[in-house]
Amino acid sequence: MLLKSLYIKNFRQFKGETLIEFAHEKEKNVTIILGDNTYGKTTLLQAFNWCLYNFVVFDKDSNPDMLLNYEIESQMRYGSRETVEVRIVLVHKNVEYTISRTQEYFWMEHKVRGEVPKATMSYKTLGSDGQTDIRTQYIDKVINEILPRDLSNFFFFDTERVRDVSNRKDLSESVKGLLGLTALENAIKHLGSKTLKTTVLGKFYSSMDNEGDRKASEALERINSAQHRKSVIAEQIEEITSQIAYYENEKSRLEHILLEGENTAALQNKSLELEKKIKNETNTLEQIYEKFVQDFNNGAVIFFAKPLMLRAINFLKEAEVDDKGIKDMTAQSIADIIKRGKCICGHELIEGSVEYKNILKQLEYLPPQSIGTSIRNFKEKIIMYDQANQNYYDNLKSRYEDILRSKTRIQEWQDELDNINDDIKDKEDMNKYVNKLTDVKKQLKNLNEKKERYIREDEGCNNDIERNQKIYDSLVAVSSKNKALMIYIRYAEEIKAWMEKTYKEKEIDIRERLEDKVNKIFNKIYHGNRRVSIDEKYNVTLLTTIGEKEIASGESEGLNRVKNFAFITGLVELAKEKIVAIADENKLDLSSEPYPLVMDAPFSNADARHTTNISRVLPEVAEQVIMFVMEKDWHYAEPVMSYRVGSKWILDKKTEYYTVLKRSES
């Protein structure tokens, strides 16, 4: 597909009629449209989107729903009508198409209103005369065949607005369509199967004369049943495969997060461990404190009386100590014994007897007659107290040392915890990702097992079909009509099998070849250590190698742009190649079609080196390049690209609502 011209009428700031003819010669394939910001570059790009796909992307504050030029709109009065039109002429597979979209505006209830836009499309084979209209209901389909809408963001590339067009949705169908596999897909659909009566195979089978042949009917019934089961299984497998793909992606994503957050996870675990240790140690410290206070209270009086005791000892050093008294015996004890009349040894104490006298004699050694014994007793007690005080002191000292040690430990751990918490302050909790990953792996295991079961069941169905097909063939091949039909069926089935096989092979082949091409182009523009990966949905990711693992790398705006350029140019380059060959001597091009690249501000925010690289690569790869560029960016691109420029235009902004496009003679 190559763009020949764009005609616009009253579309936004392009008041009146404007016609741009695009360069599409092999050596002069670049069209440059120069204009500064707000001059209408993006409007031109949106004109393509509106004409082809009936959508536009304008900033919210610029009244995006009103396509009619503001100056014309403001002059409209009751009864007046105005038209907005965008018309594109393009060539695709040797057919010239003219696509036009118009919208009528009219004045009603003090306001200008727009009718529903209308599209027309006609075509003519190159070199022939006369146009043939395409029926309205097929216009969108034909446009989508020429250039799938899902890929329009790539082909009509709004560099400043579209940050990453490649990771939005499943582009696989669009890419396969662009590369010519839709023809195969439709042919497979039309060939159909024996159970689908409105398809080629269904019609052949229903023409078979197998009336009255019960066994053949039963065999056919069993085949149909097995095929029905197969289609159910295929749907299940597809669903499961899609779920597996989702969980595989999720698994990679989580593993990537965990790999990146490995250090954070270790710190988070360490933090938890320290918190636990601090808590335990704080409990221990409280217990030691309690024991310290308890011990302190138990011996404090005696301990603090020690200086008094020492002074008493010194005072009593010279006192006579009589050790004849019975320890702890008092004068009152003697009085009680005498009063009782019997000694503790059992003798009767009769006044005047020897025993009586001896008992009385004891009073001489006891207070109040003598304090020697008391002093002796007192001294002995002080010695005992002194020993107890020493133990008391040692015990308290030991407890105090325990407290200090415990406090030191707590402080050290707290310091370490504070440092770790500073490091992980803004980091996510990695444990939740670990748990998610475990769940995802479990899901994957279950899904893979389920898929395996379906695959085994599918094999069983194949065996049933093969066995019953043999029975059926042998029974119905009786009449000559059936024989002829059998031959048609064999050819139809053989063609269908070849098409299905080719389609599957090409599906894989296309992605591999595209990835290869995109990487080659990417490396021409960007000289760094990154690789482009394209997944099953044709979403593009940049990978970088860390150790032995490839992980998705961060993408700056500039790098992201280079990635998207590489993807679209790779796609354009692949579209030019022959994708399917029927036999060595009979090649058939299903695609082999050039495509244009239309880009708004492709060098915006790119440095001089990238601008030069992009300028060199794009015209070489794409058959046609149309770029809307600011003067300051063109300054860098011009030396590399000017020899390719076949058509150059300048946007001349007259007012905020009126821009004129002029052909540049330079």
Partner: protein, 55 residues
Amino acid sequence: MTDIEKKGLDEKRLSAMKINILELEIENLRTREKTNEAMVDAIRKMIMEEVKKNY
């Protein structure tokens, strides 16, 4: 003898059918002139005529 011949089919006819069908599909993708039903009939006739041709 090739696998195709073992099945009682002719390589040349088979290639011609593949090309004709795909060309028809490509053409209809360009213009959408034929409905699905018309395409099925056209393909069916293509196969039958190709089998009947004398090479």
